[in-house]
Assembly symmetry: D2
Homo-oligomer: 380 residues x 4
Amino acid sequence: MHSFRNDYMEGAHPCVLEALVRTNAEQHPGYTEDSRCAAARERIRRAIAQSDRAGALARAGVNPETLQVEFVAGGTMANLVSIATCLRPHECVIAAPDGHVNVHETGAIEACGHKVLVTADPDGLPSIAGIDAVMKEHEYGGNFHMVKPRLVYMSLATETGLVCTAAHLAELRAYADEHGLLLFIDGARLACGLASPRCDATLADVCAAADIFTIGGTKNGALFGEAIVIRNADAGREFRYVMKQKGAVCAKGRLLGVQFDALFGVTGAQAGVAEAEGDEPLYLSLGRHSVAAALKLRDVLASHGFDAFESDSSTNQQFLRLDNATAEAFARAFDADIIARPDDSSTVVRMTCSWATSEDDIAAVDEQLSRMGDNAGRTA
Amino acid sequence: MHSFRNDYMEGAHPCVLEALVRTNAEQHPGYTEDSRCAAARERIRRAIAQSDRAGALARAGVNPETLQVEFVAGGTMANLVSIATCLRPHECVIAAPDGHVNVHETGAIEACGHKVLVTADPDGLPSIAGIDAVMKEHEYGGNFHMVKPRLVYMSLATETGLVCTAAHLAELRAYADEHGLLLFIDGARLACGLASPRCDATLADVCAAADIFTIGGTKNGALFGEAIVIRNADAGREFRYVMKQKGAVCAKGRLLGVQFDALFGVTGAQAGVAEAEGDEPLYLSLGRHSVAAALKLRDVLASHGFDAFESDSSTNQQFLRLDNATAEAFARAFDADIIARPDDSSTVVRMTCSWATSEDDIAAVDEQLSRMGDNAGRTA
Amino acid sequence: MHSFRNDYMEGAHPCVLEALVRTNAEQHPGYTEDSRCAAARERIRRAIAQSDRAGALARAGVNPETLQVEFVAGGTMANLVSIATCLRPHECVIAAPDGHVNVHETGAIEACGHKVLVTADPDGLPSIAGIDAVMKEHEYGGNFHMVKPRLVYMSLATETGLVCTAAHLAELRAYADEHGLLLFIDGARLACGLASPRCDATLADVCAAADIFTIGGTKNGALFGEAIVIRNADAGREFRYVMKQKGAVCAKGRLLGVQFDALFGVTGAQAGVAEAEGDEPLYLSLGRHSVAAALKLRDVLASHGFDAFESDSSTNQQFLRLDNATAEAFARAFDADIIARPDDSSTVVRMTCSWATSEDDIAAVDEQLSRMGDNAGRTA
Amino acid sequence: MHSFRNDYMEGAHPCVLEALVRTNAEQHPGYTEDSRCAAARERIRRAIAQSDRAGALARAGVNPETLQVEFVAGGTMANLVSIATCLRPHECVIAAPDGHVNVHETGAIEACGHKVLVTADPDGLPSIAGIDAVMKEHEYGGNFHMVKPRLVYMSLATETGLVCTAAHLAELRAYADEHGLLLFIDGARLACGLASPRCDATLADVCAAADIFTIGGTKNGALFGEAIVIRNADAGREFRYVMKQKGAVCAKGRLLGVQFDALFGVTGAQAGVAEAEGDEPLYLSLGRHSVAAALKLRDVLASHGFDAFESDSSTNQQFLRLDNATAEAFARAFDADIIARPDDSSTVVRMTCSWATSEDDIAAVDEQLSRMGDNAGRTA
């Protein structure tokens, strides 16, 4: 039975794995200073440029050819290195309460010395009003008895499946410029965010808005690895020193280059991804596939009466409130992830699709639910 | 032409790569909590137990079945997580001046808040006398105006190719016990250290001596990854919290499990490593191969008159002092690594062998040197 | 005109100043290792023992004669050294949202690497329910993807003038014991908390409850200085190393000894403090004086119709909501501190009394308010 | 018997104490934002300007009127706040091996995340050659596998009584400018350094050379306190945030203002210091007095045959090598500080003079030595 526990259950997409196998015997210098990484960097820059349908880069004065691109092994690492590079000792991060750096990284940012201030935004996306309330409380950085807010952390797709629009990205950028803030976008699930039907932003819009953002490979086809794109060269200067200090420089950096070269050098169409559009890179197509699978799953669940969705998720994760017994049945049947118990009688489960979730896997859920019997008042 | 620049130029040993390919489609839970990691942990424990020719484990009261084994992506990460877990704010590390954490990790230990004190030992291996001098200077931890020495950092094989014997390991352990110190052994090149003809210590001896030590995969057949063996459960308690905080927990932890399962589950003989002894795991055989290749290379170099070796290295790295022009010729011909310029006219180059260095590669050096003409007074 | 801005406007109480002058020419060794500090430590231990009306120390197994007492220059320093000494890298603090360490110390705790988690308690005092909700969210320390709660921070008197009772202290201690938590009590305004008519706890109750607590001198008669009482010797072991590392060891430590020797060696009655009870030390009597002055001030304010108190404060700080114009008049007339603007038309001012606030100062407020005209609907 | 243990045995110089007493009842706002601090800042700026005999400030483009001056309670605090403000995470300090921050501050700099690199300079003063060797080893900041040297730490007077000349200060500044380094001068004993007959530098020369330097009060007449002068506004920007975060902001900041106002507002002549020159501030005269006393003491010691001085000290500390028995006699008789045991039979003692050391105190040493009998081969 296919597991829907999360989007990092499998290894790599076959194209990525094939590239690793094909290049395995090559000798390359270390630390991402090799030709494979150079190629991957170039492909990422090109993908950003090509996605700029609305001219956001030019408006923001960004020359995509000069973007600095770095590679690290994992998401927490990408977040902490980026943020630690940007901040002076008394500066801090603003995030939504359920921002990943605030809750699920064991205080990684604080371990680098910086406080994480939270907005009152309930659903993971920092709003202008939420940020401004924090800024006001901290006197817009004018009171040395308090930390100085300096960097807004956000994800394009939140932990509950909401997404940020191009307009909201532009507003955040404008607010940041006005108030001397940096904007960091955690792209652990960037491809799914971009693929959401609710998200009209492109890679270029993200790049135009963020000072630094990441392109998550681990959850989108890579064996492991995240790319970090540094648009604000001053904020990210001497980035590799901090990478090294934090243990984030990969000795065999070529591994990351090879993977991102595959993800951005092959098109989704070439790789046979059904959802691929135009000549977009495999990376974006895999996001489309994951999201399409999750929305199909959502329909299947609803068709069986399981429609008490905790959030109006349009990404690759779906959140369902169930009575406790049904939640356990889901956990057994689909390896659904139990993530909260809002009250004594109900449980929230998460079901996640990935590039590896097939139509058959969704069909199997449909079939299994038919066997289990439709929902009739079993959700809270 | 084969590059002798370092021992992380290639991808993974074919056995490791094959295991990754074979298991790629499996679904596993994250964070090294999967069955592949469980298997790898078990194999590592067994390899330690089986290598205990001299009963060191029993003497030290170590039950190998209870050893905690963790996996992280890289060496700097393994070092900093291990050390940060062990130390309180005012405690510090003692290392030889050229200890990797002291010089080549961009202050990773200091970034965790801890000073690195250096002994006067010239060749990378902390001596009892060297450690004791530092301890004395710091009043054996009895002066609160100074940092309190708490952990000795060392590598089994030093940066210049020297190795630590079983007797020295035992002495260090005894000194540590007597003075309340912890002993951490950086095993980035553990396999080559163990394979050195000068080293009579086994994996079990290392385990009996160290509170925590690492088993480096990146430089010995893995695509990437280091195992961390925690013998002192108290010093390493709640290790995974610190791992997570430092970004060292691998989402697809199975990747590390699969690789170490291959390195310790297949024997060198099964994998066809010529130098394999008995039924030792592939991991140890690959170290043997690397060292054998390097000693053969050393002979070849000497046979052409290049015998001004900077150190009496018995591991997989050889260090040669050359006049500047010859050094550049070596760099061009063999991709030898230029690592020091001790004076205006001479250069030290490093040539490193790995599991991937073949007999043909060494033969090609021989041939090339014949073409270049033997050395006649060209070394300093 | 007397300023009511805060409780650190003046220098030292005359008895303290006199002691500093009298001992100025003495020669003493540094770093609080002198006889004056020894005397002060002894007097503090005795005051704790003598205040144990209810036998709390014996019940808690505390021998007051063995308490470790340290001295530092200021409150933020006392907090950060105490907390940094207690915590391992992944451990964190639980505090109420307006806890001083959470808001007004520029991220001092985070700069030591530790997250501050906040409860939902609205008024500065962490409740058992509030703490337990945080603990539950963090799986009682059982999820390594999140920080591990380890220390509860609280003040005996909150930032808004509420106080903690002996019963609540005992509950917090019991909860802490049950869940492996430490309890730290910030005593910057300890004397005022103890003197509050709402607080039935004594110095001994605080000591029996807290693992570490501070006795604030700066805001209660000293020129400067805080005593730190370490009841939990294990949590606070090697405390002076961390003090030194953070710059908290005073070279002329005798200054702190002399001051606390005066504050705890002279009785309030001897010093002529009108509010002194029995033979309590001057330190406690000064708190009584400050609180008595503030409650008298509260009555005076109310008698003129200014009774929109923001909190039911029973300590030395009173908080009044005024319309903006009146608030500015108060700021001008009494140097009242403007601390919040809850909405466009109203302002909250704080008026603080100290050991130096005289009856005449309160009478002058009365007179001035008479001149200004009573309040008639001018408060929000 | 007068103690020669160190220069912080007494309280404050009478003029400083008198100022504290005189202003004790004044009410002032906190955090050094009061009029006394403003006055002290102005006096320090003026003293710097007036000491500029050689036009160093103008040459360096420094307008003394715009210097930022901050006050903190102690020396370790002054050092760590200054250095932490200046450095990014991967940047580090260069110091001589016996630099105070390297040895005697319990790793305070490392606790802020920064490595301290040491030169090979034997006597506490970093030489250009010593710094350049460290810079070269670190590839002048061009190798991200190593820390990046960024700030040179030095004292005007070293731990062994040597001093830095105006010419050396200018050389250090020029080197720093050329290589992107900052220069921090620890002025814990600044007044004694300036008063040394071997030092031709003035306060202005120090200010022209350093990016940030401190003016130590604790060891030169103040009860406690150090002024920090920030010449490089960019390096020190938002300094007060870091001060607050590290617990260095004094609530009753006025205490520091009052003291430095006295030390720089009264002349040494007015205060009756015999060694005062011209209308120099008391602060400088007290340094002169301390040094004069120490040099007189040195003569007295030598006249009794005790002339095995460990260093050619021209400041207020003298270092004598004695046989062990004599060293103990000195410790008993003069409270001399035992600071080293270079070999089994000899001991180094330190005798320190301060503003409080009188002619009688020196005469008493003379007399006591006469009673003890002159030295005859008792030194090593």
